[in-house]
């Protein structure tokens, strides 16, 4: 019996030791696992910088640059490609330097985008997939970009579909380095094609988006964005 007590005590000491040793792992992730980082469109001052990490591998279609720019929204399932035109350069002599950001100190630790995307899965978070939007590239840590892009989408979201209840339509779209959209599709329909069309049109009307920052290594990001009526 006393041997049992000693064995149990030793085991508990080991367990407590493991807990104490394991806790520092938490330090790097200052944010608890289930914490939601909200980016307010109407009050960007409250927006916290985030380091999104997708948890599920995403298949990223290779951009085809010579297809037409206009994306007919009547067929959202089709993967479309926007024609890429070189950014208009001003005539005066100009050298555009790559901006150095705080992130640049960590660039040595960055892996390629594909590797990142493969290693993380997409989480919509919360109990419902409609509670918020997600980005499928963990290394994209530019809160300003979301503020600007979503502000643009919001200004183009003109809901003329009258419905006495809550409608949610989730749209997935991909943006390439130049800010152009290469894919847009309905991820989850609201059940009303009219409302779905309005949501797609809001994104269509918002192109081009701000160009992805120069120091962002990947060529593409994918965003899942829910719209409510």
């Amino acid at each position: 019996m006393s041997r049992d007590v000693i064995f149990s005590t030793v085991l508990h000491i080991i367990l407590v030791g493991i807990v104490l040793v394991a806790s520092p792992f938490k330090i790097n992730g200052n944010v608890p696992f289930d914490e939601i980082i909200r980016v307010q469109l109407t009050a960007p001052n409250e927006m916290k910088p985030a380091e999104p990490v997708a948890l599920e591998p995403v298949s990223v279609p290779k951009p085809v640059f010579d297809e037409p720019e206009d994306i007919p929204i009547s067929d959202p399932e089709t993967i479309k490609e926007a024609k890429i035109t070189p950014k208009e350069k001003p005539k005066p002599k100009k050298t555009q330097d790559k901006p150095k950001t705080q992130k640049q100190t960590n660039t040595a630790n960055q892996t390629s985008g594909n590797e990142e995307r493969e290693s993380k899965e997409i989480e919509t978070g919360g109990s419902s997939p409609f509670t918020g939007a997600t980005i499928d590239n963990a290394t994209f840590n530019y809160p300003y970009w979301f503020t600007q892009a979503f502000n643009k989408i919001a200004s183009n979201f003109r809901n003329t579909f009258l419905y006495d209840g809550t409608l949610v339509c989730v749209v997935y779209f991909q943006v390439i380095k130049s800010g152009r959209i290469i894919e847009i599709r309905i991820e989850k329909s609201s059940g009303f094609s009219e409302f779905d069309g309005i949501c797609l049109r809001a994104i269509e009307s918002s192109k081009p988006f701000p160009p992805l920052p120069n120091d962002f290594r990947d060529e593409i990001i994918g965003i899942t964005l829910p719209f409510k009526n």
Binding site: M1, R3, F7, S8, L11, H12, I14, L15, I18, V19, A22, S23, K26, V31, P32, F33, I36, I37, R38, V39, L41, P44, A50, P52, V53, L55, K87, P90, P92, K93, K94, Q96, D97, P99, T101, Q102, G125, G126, T131, G132, A133, T134, A138, P143, Y144, F146, T147, N151, K152, A154, S155, F157, R158, S205, P208, P210, P211, L225, P226, K228
Partner: protein, 440 residues
Amino acid sequence: MKRTSILSLILFILLICISNVNAQSEIRNIFFDTIRAGDVRLTPIGVDEMKYVGNQFITADDSSIMRWVSNIVRKDIDFYANFKLVPLDSFFIKVYEIAEIDLLGWKRLGADYMVKLDAEFPGTNLSARWKLFDTNTSQEIAKGKFEYNKVYWREIAHNIADEIVHTLTGEAGIFRSKIVYAKEVGDAKELFIADFDGANERQLTKTGSINISPFFTHDGKYVYFTSFMDGDPQLYKAKVENGKIERVATYPGLIAAPALSYDGNKIACVMTKDGNSEIYVLGLNGKVIKRLTNHRSIDSSPSWSPNGDHIVFSSDRTGRPQLYIMDSDGMDTRRLTYEGSYNDSPVWSKRGDRITFVSRSKRGRFDIASIDTSGNDYRVLTRNGTNENPHFSSDGKHLIYSSTRLGGKDLYTMDITGRNQRRLTRSGNCTNPSWGAVAR
């Protein structure tokens, strides 16, 4: 013994699982609030005073140039429809005893972004560096450098503003675009070209006659216009570079109100060659492609939809001028406006969802009004004086028009919502403005 061991083992496994979960807390997800209709917000931006970062003495002129560049960048930012300039608050600076405002200071002033400007003067050049910061994260978003002869300081300032617009919106800025307009010179109306903000004005035509309804070609190399220089009003084009004029089309009667299609290949205009005022489509060479209207009333002022499928025009077929939309082949005409007792000079927005026009509103004078393409949501955008000749900027976010609100006819600009109305000219004799694409 067995029971205690099993319990301990379970506890052990549980704790291992929890520690694993904690270790995964690095994996974070970003969630954004759901997009809701009507969430529109102007982006507040602060522009720091340009600073000299060289190590030599600079002249008073150079010092003035730095101040002018800062001011032009500020004016451009303030002008842009999606931006809001955050002014330097001298009271704030005094209260906090700040010698030089930093990112935190700009953030406290309400700026989400801050533009930092540095200057050097190598030889006769101005070398201007700009940096754009996110004040909320202190992140440097973008930076760049322009170097040019210092006499072109205004161009450099516009270039910087264009880059800021592009970085934050993805769209091309309009600050290097030009406008063309008619200005009274004696008894004549000559065409003048200026920067979008009215600066650098120069005379394009010197015909001594009436020249009206100008517009730029998409490459910015030519201005098409209607002129009375040979008697009846006919269609001409002038080379922007040297003002050389060529006649584009000559038909019996008049050719008026030319409007370029968004693809830049066709011109819709009014002609009376068949007796009545009808709308025709011409090629850029002046050759008639098609007659679109055939009605005993007066049809005028055509404007193309962005996709080229439709044309909006005014017609008095129901008594007083109202707006109508037809297919670009002249079929399927339908009335657009019912509000406003006199509607004319329509222009189709670049987005394609609205049409802006001149409307005699309830106050009995001519105003700039806007309506959606289904004929709903009629909005009057101006309130004072007589307002005419609306025309969109190349990015479709701004309008230029003429107004008599302060006496003489001058040019004004505003956002497409009617916000941010600004006076461009002060000579009191400017009309018929048209906004060109960026062309340098």
